[in-house]
Amino acid sequence: MAFESLTEKLQNVFKSLKSKGRLTEADVKTALKEVKLALLEADVNFKVVKQFIRSVEERAVGQDVMNGLNPGQMVIKIVNEEMINLMGSETCELEFQPGKAITVIMMCGLQGAGKTTTAAKIAGKLKLKGKKCLLVGCDIYRPAAIKQLEINASKQEVDMFSMGDSHKASDIAAAAMAHAEKNGHNIVIIDTAGRLQIDDDMMKELTDIKERVNVHQTLLVVDAMTGQEAVNVADTFNKKVGIDGVILSKMDGDARGGAALSIKAVTDKPIIYVGMGEKLSDLEQFHPDRMANRILGMGDVLTLIEKAQENLDIDEDRDKETLRKLKKGKFDFEDYLESMNQMKKMGGLSSILGMMPGMGMGGLKAGDIESQIDDKKLSRVEAIILSMTKEERHDPSLLNPSRKHRIAKGAGVDIAEVNRFIKQFEQSKKMMKQLPGMMGGFGGKKGRFKLPF
């Protein structure tokens, strides 16, 4: 489970702070020492960690503990805010040239970072946005790299341009531009060979391409599992070639992705996409705040709370309604569907459960949750709810055998599964009743799990 031990670590630290009445300098220091270790274990670069700890310490020591927060929560709040500061607070998009002008994107990175796969993924993504993409194979060194790009291009049903491996990369790129103009492509994605950032000749190959072709977006692909090296790699690529954005690949692994923080800190370039799987569709938008939260470990819970708080400000009534529903367990299928969709957006139910304070630590092990919930099941559940009428969704008590039968037919599942789901739903409702208790910050009385805000 991603970030699990980091979560546990931070939770232990902040638990030790919870009992104390005020935030003292010593408190902050002890807490931050543990935060430091945890971040190092997450592969955040040592120097970045040091700097980060310093800035948090400066902010935290001497600051008043806000009303309604205990010292531990206060430290978390500051750590969290500084993490988000570091990661940048906005989600970035690729920038395109106006009108019909061709936007040129160049991929670069170390060997095995995932450039070729990512290039094809981007092409597929932009194709969905109505762009006409041309993939260009400039990796003339690795055996079969061009073939790989060619196969991926045909899978994505986008055009591909290559000239074999006996031409210079910059020549191929230039020829590709002519080809693109002739054939009306408005996006050109140049895939380059993997290279070490200290290999000056290979780095020159990239600058050569940039001299020959007007590259609008140079994207550095970095393996999310990269350790302390991430800083050197990103910094050197940025200095020697100049990068405009970063793509973090293999984020579907269990690496904690500390590299993201390091890269952002040294280059100040946005991370645009994250690679979330081997399928060519698995490329997602990067959310800096979410990532920061994820590295911190209490991430998605913080997000949930933040959202709840924001909502509270904007639409107090509606939110009170949600809270009331949650508290009283008056929670219908419509809400269930809604929360399911939200959870899906945040990376699945299991990852959220795993990140909830207490859940990760308590009896429920991440693996257990994972085995109970798989994505296929979730989509069947979705189908079941969608097969209900509005009335049924609001009032589960309406569900008699005949209605259930119809729902089962509509969802294409066995009636037993419908029954099982309804039973499970009742159980979830009970669980939801406990949730307000966990939201100690606003409303719950004596929550077992206090939240940071």
Partner: protein, 346 residues
Amino acid sequence: MEENLINEEINEEEITEEEVKEEEIKEEDIKEEKKGGFFRRLVKGLTKTRDSIVGGFEDLFTASEIDEDFYDEIEEILIMSDAGMEASEEIIEELKERVKQRHVKKTDECRELLKEVMTESLMKNPPDYPYEEKRSVILVVGVNGAGKTTTVGKLALKLKDQGKKTMIVAADTFRAAAVEQLNVWADRAGVDFIKCNEGQDPASVVYDAMQAAKARNTDAVICDTAGRLHNKKNLMNELEKITRIINREHPDAYVETLLVLDGATGQNAISQAREFLNASKVTGVVITKLDGTAKGGIAFAIQNSLSIPVKYIGVGEAIDDLQKFDAKDFVDALFDKSTEEEDVNA
């Protein structure tokens, strides 16, 4: 072969003036040195690694008093090499212990002690190479982009040069053009090649390969597998199945499972090693791409937390850039030149 030559040329050119000078000096030393080829390559490959680790260490061993700051700085350098918190702390503790035992007072006397401790921590599980003696199947596993296919190619040449009848099996049926890539390596190494179709069940490819190996009386079968993230349950199950089939279909063969780790990987390497160990009994680790600035400190982390020996390191893209791991050389190469010379002459 042509591509190989191009790579060589590029490698040659990339050496900066400074390095050339170093190279000359080294070359002289190494001429009298039997293991020269390896050491030179390692030193060359690890030059950047060395620069960054030693760059830090050099300032440390000034004849000042040993204090907590000194240890903190060593720890910092170790962590910066991806050795990880735990392994770094263990090394420091051991160093402190020995400093006390041997009544060392000044930091400059610590250098050899630290090298000693670092070497020993890498030698907890010394590497062995049974497949050089026995009829074997070597399964190469790892996450995506670690360098498995390249390692397979390099290893095939190594074994073939030892006079073994070697066969490469392409069981990466998932990634586009993986088979073609491996085919190029098989041609370069000049060994037998069993291929599959994209999308074919890799286990069935391995099954066929085992029959072929028995029929052709092959000494060493090297199976390349698709890159898989270690937290993907179904892919790890697939690996288990492949392992099962090898054991069942070729029971006389010694089975070696090599886990390939990217030298730039951080602490996630431990998680990788653990999961791959579970799925297919990993018997050795290969750390690749150590010709960059990556320090390969995960070697320490792996040794510290799991009992798998590091067997090879990859220090370049050329076909003979796969080297047997030698803890002493590895640590020596991380330290400065004067020390190396002493060691080489000793």
